[in-house]
């Protein structure tokens, strides 16, 4: 039950700045997911919130109270670590009650709380076991149990699912989400997996090289990426990018690709893109914005030779070369051709994106 504010937070290791000024305001009970490539500073930011790393610059406040100088134990936060960090010599119950003991809570209340948390997480039968006797999924639950017994102001998760197999990961993902609905608490969750970020977050924060690239609801990041980096990071398979020039041709605004191919920009986008005419840009289009069937307004038909076909069941991925790059399209399985054959592909230009070639900012 708390607001969490980060004001120009910086972390430097010697001359190297791992976090270069992060500004973020997290609302009460909000579920925020930090996502980004490895080494972009997600964990460092989380650990500064937790108090495990000294804050080199800026301010972190929980519920309006600046916590920069507080010990981790004084911040009223709970953290779930990647490798769970369960105390191996203590039983599950002891693991969960350890922090309550530190608060000198009466024995009876500790037991009641542990029992309640164990029920919530369906680990009531495991209370007497040692962590070494548990499966990965069970350890994960115990780690979460240890976090919820103390009823903290903020939950912190650092890649909690990356040690689980794919199936369990999906299951625990929904479970964490369910837990958050059951016990609404301000949550910061770190992951490098954009699917985890998209499915769990109220708000996704995309980080890159120690800075926030964009923060917003998952759909907003998907539909309106602020930069080429975000566009490429969010969505799977990734958005296709092609170098292009924006040109005015008669009454039309067109994209000229590297091989001279011309794509017409739909009228709805003219007002937005016209000022950038004659600039080198990067044209972005998601695999999902291409289709085997045409007929939609703003669609552009392309004749392509398919190099590779990947049937996924619900959709089929096809790969083809265009203007010196390999592109991926997600099409209806019934339109999928055999590898090596050619087909007509319809690009939904209403779903096109343009980025500044130099800065990568969305236009």
């Amino acid at each position: 039950m708390a607001r969490l504010e980060l004001k120009r937070v910086i972390k430097s290791y010697g001359n190297y700045e791992a976090v270069r000024g992060v500004d973020l305001d997290i609302a009460d009970n909000e579920f925020v997911v930090f996502v980004g490539p490895s080494g972009c500073g997600k964990s460092t930011t989380l650990r500064m919130i937790a108090g495990l790393e000294h804050i080199s610059g800026g301010e972190i406040a929980i519920d309006g109270r600046v916590v920069n100088r507080l010990q981790p134990g004084e911040r009223d936060i709970a953290m779930v670590f990647q490798n769970y960090a369960l105390y191996p010599h203590m039983s599950v119950a002891e693991n969960m009650s350890f922090c309550l003991e530190q608060q000198r809570m009466p024995r009876a209340e500790i037991e009641a709380r542990v029992r309640r948390a164990a029920e919530t997480l369906h680990i009531g039968a495991l209370l007497d076991r040692r962590p070494g006797q548990l499966s990965g999924g069970q350890r994960q639950r115990v780690a979460m149990g240890r976090a919820i017994v103390r009823n903290p102001k903020v939950f912190l998760f650092d890649e909690p699912l990356s040690n689980l197999d794919a199936k369990l990961r999906v299951q625990m993902r929904t479970e964490i989400k369910r837990l958050h609905q059951l016990i609404p608490t301000t949550t910061v969750y770190v992951t490098h997996d954009q699917i985890e970020a998209m499915t769990m977050a109220d708000r996704v924060v995309v980080m890159n090289a120690g800075l926030i690239e964009q923060a917003g609801p998952p759909q907003e990041l998907y539909h309106h990426p602020a930069s080429r980096f975000v566009a490429g990071f969010i969505g799977s398979p990734s958005m296709n990018f092609l170098d292009a020039r924006l040109e005015i041709s008669g009454d039309d605004l067109v994209l000229v690709l590297a091989d001279g191919l011309v794509l017409r920009v739909p009228e709805a986008k003219w007002a937005r893109y016209r000022p950038h005419a004659d600039e080198p840009v990067v044209f972005g289009i998601r695999p999902e914005a291409m289709s085997g069937t045409g007929g939609r307004a703003g669609a552009v038909a392309l004749e392509v030779t398919v190099d590779l076909v990947e049937p996924l069941g619900a959709a089929t991925m096809i790969y083809f070369d265009l203007a010196g790059a390999t592109l991926c399209a997600s099409i209806e399985p019934e339109h999928a051709p055999a590898a090596g054959s050619s087909m007509t592909l319809h690009l939904d230009m209403n779903r096109m994106h343009l980025f500044d070639a130099a800065s990568g900012r969305a236009l």
Binding site: G73, A85, L86, P88, H89, C99, R146
Partner: protein, 293 residues
Amino acid sequence: MTLANASKPILRRDEAGGETVRYALFVLVAGLVALFFLMPIVWSIANSFKPAAEALADPVSLVSSAFSLENYRRLEGVGAGWTSYAANSVVVALGTVALTVLVAVPAGYGFSKFRFPGQTLLFVLVMATMMIPFQSILTPLFLILKWLRLQNSLFGLVLIYVTFQLPFSIFMMRNAFDAVPRALIEAARIDGASQWTILRRIMLPIALPGVATVAMFAFLNSWNEFLAALIFLSDQNKFTLPIMLVNVSSGIYGIIDWGALQAGITVTMVPCIVLFLSLQRYYVRGLTAGAVK
């Protein structure tokens, strides 16, 4: 078809037979090796319970005509009596264990979990003292003890043993604490535990095999040590068991009392064996801690 089927069980029986032979061979060889190492111990114990005359006359046989505690009674007559020497040894060994653990645990913790200037140099210096031969510093040690008025004192002897035990012990404890994952300490910090609570409730229990190893080595080394005890203790009442053994074997009336000597050896040996066996599980884990993962 039938032939092929019939041949299968025969083949399996052959394989099983091979297994059995190999296992029997293993048991035989292992048994022989064990016997080889156990024999001196068994022999000492057997002789210690023979009547004194028989131990002297026929030391080789394992079985005796009569069970007798005579040798132990004779040992009582050596100097201040074996029980008081055993008591001295116990005091020295336990003192060494206590003091070694008390210093090595915090030192190892410091070297493992904190960073301070000159840390590596200090650690290397401590380790380097392991290479100093004991004999070469006997004289300075003697002078220092004299200056401290601790010559001919069990406590002085304990201090010397602890000094020689520390480098290895600090090394062991540092490794033991290194093996405790950093995330556990961080989790404990988030749980609101103080430094002291973290050491006591998280680190020490996990590093316990290391502590057991350190304690065992301190016990065995101080229990068996001879030279320092001989040099630094001059009062007969303060001797430890190894010195008593020499006094027995050098003879009270000019001849070696074999029975009493075997009794003395038994008394000296049994605590070591019991300790080793009871701590064996920890000890093996302690030595390999940090080696894996």
